[in-house]
């Protein structure tokens, strides 16, 4: 991977920045920033409504993004719903599917979910007097016997593709295939927030019914997310919010909604965000998702090796040890230090990492970890960043113990 830092203007302003928090949000490359800027400067009109050139240009670019994102994940444009983020995509599903099911709703999820793929389901089963089954993980950080947690009553399997703490890449194509074979009616929802930016995503090969991800984690603008759904399922799903843009006709007596995806995009959307996202997808495709995944795995492998070398038995790495089954996320603890202190001292050396639960408290409870420190790698990181991280940690540990 060639050095891409020059494409990211933030490094011009902070040349010493060691950014290791891409799991939270990715930095933005020039083409994305330029595209957003261009919308606001050259054609910042509303979409769909205007019978004038700049509105038509905005509509064209907005719908072009839908096609590009569809292609990015191997889906069809009419299966792409633009939302605010992964969280909103998942809440939209919980609200819509909740209305469709009759009786108690049994849902299966995993212990490694981000709160956004846990809380909507926890609330839904509580409201509907259903049951939430949780797939656990083993010592290796992999899911244990996922099929055993699904039964004929299970309506939904909500599962993450890549853990935002452990870095585990779940073998979803295989899990989904087996689950669908045994339970053809089971709705499978994939949280791809940590997958879409880092590995080649093909919704059909995956076999899921719905896939949710965020724009900002894949170099795109904040405030824009994606929900992909199988066309037939989206068509049957009731709209999430009601308002402008999502109706075919409205009268005092009766309202007819537009077909999907537009029925799920009520009100003026984040037009600049959607348009900016197409450049993010293009940028990633130009590099190649396989290459990106490989690069991150390499950095994670070096980081894990160096952490062990530097801190020996004092370091506890959460998640899989083998690099081929993980993504570029490394969460860990160092004995006798608190993650917050380490992160704070690293910050004094311009190293950005994350400390805490990373929106995965059930997982930390399961692992009996009070909190953890997380370093995550993306396309603009290199081996020098890993070296700086280790040196920074050594310094921090020396100060604290």
């Amino acid at each position: 991977m060639k050095n891409l830092k020059a494409d990211f203007p933030i490094f011009k302003r902070f040349p010493n920045l060691v950014y290791l928090d891409s799991t939270a949000t990715a930095l933005k490359p020039k083409p994305v920033i330029a595209k957003i800027n261009q919308y606001y400067r050259h054609y910042s009109a509303n979409i769909f409504r205007g019978i004038y050139d700049i509105s038509e240009k905005a509509t064209y670019e907005y719908e072009k993004s839908r096609k590009i994102i569809a292609k990015f994940i191997g889906g069809a444009p009419e299966e792409i719903v633009f939302t605010r983020n992964t969280t909103e995509s998942l809440n939209l599903l919980a609200a819509g599917l909740g209305q469709q099911f009759k009786g108690p709703v049994a849902i299966t999820t995993t212990i490694m979910e981000h709160h956004s793929n846990f809380l909507p389901w926890q609330r839904l089963v509580k409201k509907r007097h259903g049951r939430l089954s949780i797939i656990g993980i083993g010592q290796s950080g992999h899911l244990q016997k996922p099929l055993q947690f699904i039964n004929p009553d299970t309506k939904i399997l909500a599962i993450t593709y890549v853990s935002n703490v452990l870095g585990t890449v779940n073998d979803l194509p295989s899990i989904i295939k087996k689950a669908k074979k045994k339970y053809p009616k089971l709705i499978i929802i994939v949280d791809a927030a940590q997958a879409a930016p880092h590995l080649k995503l093909n919704v059909h090969r995956l076999g899921a019914d719905f896939v949710a991800f965020s724009g900002h984690k894949m170099l795109g603008p904040t405030g824009i997310g994606v929900l992909w759904g199988k066309k037939g399922l989206l068509e049957n799903l009731p709209p999430y919010q009601l308002g402008g843009e999502m109706v075919q006709s409205v009268s005092v007596a009766k309202t007819i909604f537009k077909p999907s995806p537009h029925r799920f995009e009520a009100g003026t959307p984040h037009i600049a965000g959607v348009i900016g996202l197409q450049k993010a997808a293009k940028y990633l495709q130009n590099i190649g998702l396989d290459k990106i995944h490989h690069h991150e795995q390499k950095l994670a492998k070096i980081a894990i090796h160096e952490l062990k070398k530097a801190f020996g038995n004092r370091v506890r790495i959460l998640g899989p040890k083998e690099s081929e089954k993980r993504a570029g996320v490394v969460a860990f603890n160092i004995a006798d230090t608190h993650p917050h202190d380490l992160a704070q001292i690293l910050n004094e050396q311009h190293i950005c990492v994350r400390a805490g639960y990373h929106c995965a408290q059930p997982l930390h409870q399961y692992l009996n970890a009070n909190a953890s420190l997380r370093a995550s790698f993306y396309i603009y990181n290199n081996e020098t960043d890993v070296v700086k991280l280790i040196a920074g940690l050594k310094r921090a540990v020396k100060i604290l113990t």
Partner: protein, 119 residues
């Protein structure tokens, strides 16, 4: 470098005062910082409206442990009314550091716990 990890913080973190549990406390309280997982348990003994003794137990970060160590020393012997008058500024002055909003929560957790114990 304007480090938060000044000697006063580190001294109190490595060797916290009033650390541990009290025998037969009048009251025990817990306070959590859900953001980072800091958790503090506080035992207090009161006599004639004054805080007679106090101990804390925590698995927190350096800022929260140091703050607990320094604050528990500062409040011992004070009246309940005096302790309720203590605020953010008092804690920061005692610690002698400036904190970002995120870390402020760590520093203020012990005060929150102490005031909760006296309710």
């Amino acid at each position: 470098m304007d480090s938060l990890y000044k000697s006063i913080i580190l001294k109190n973190y490595r060797h916290p005062q009033n650390f541990g549990r009290l025998k037969n406390p009048d009251k025990t309280v817990q306070a959590n910082n859900e953001h980072c997982g800091d958790r503090i348990t506080l035992d207090v003994k009161l006599k004639n409206g004054r805080l007679k003794d106090i101990r804390f137990w925590s698995q927190g970060c350096a800022i929260s442990v140091a703050s607990a160590s320094i604050l528990t020393q500062a409040v011992k012997g004070k009246t309940t009314a005096e302790i309720f008058r203590l605020n953010k500024n008092f804690v920061l002055k005692k610690l002698g550091i400036k904190l970002s909003p995120n870390r402020l929560k760590c520093a203020l957790l012990p005060l929150e716990a102490i005031q909760k114990a006296l309710c």
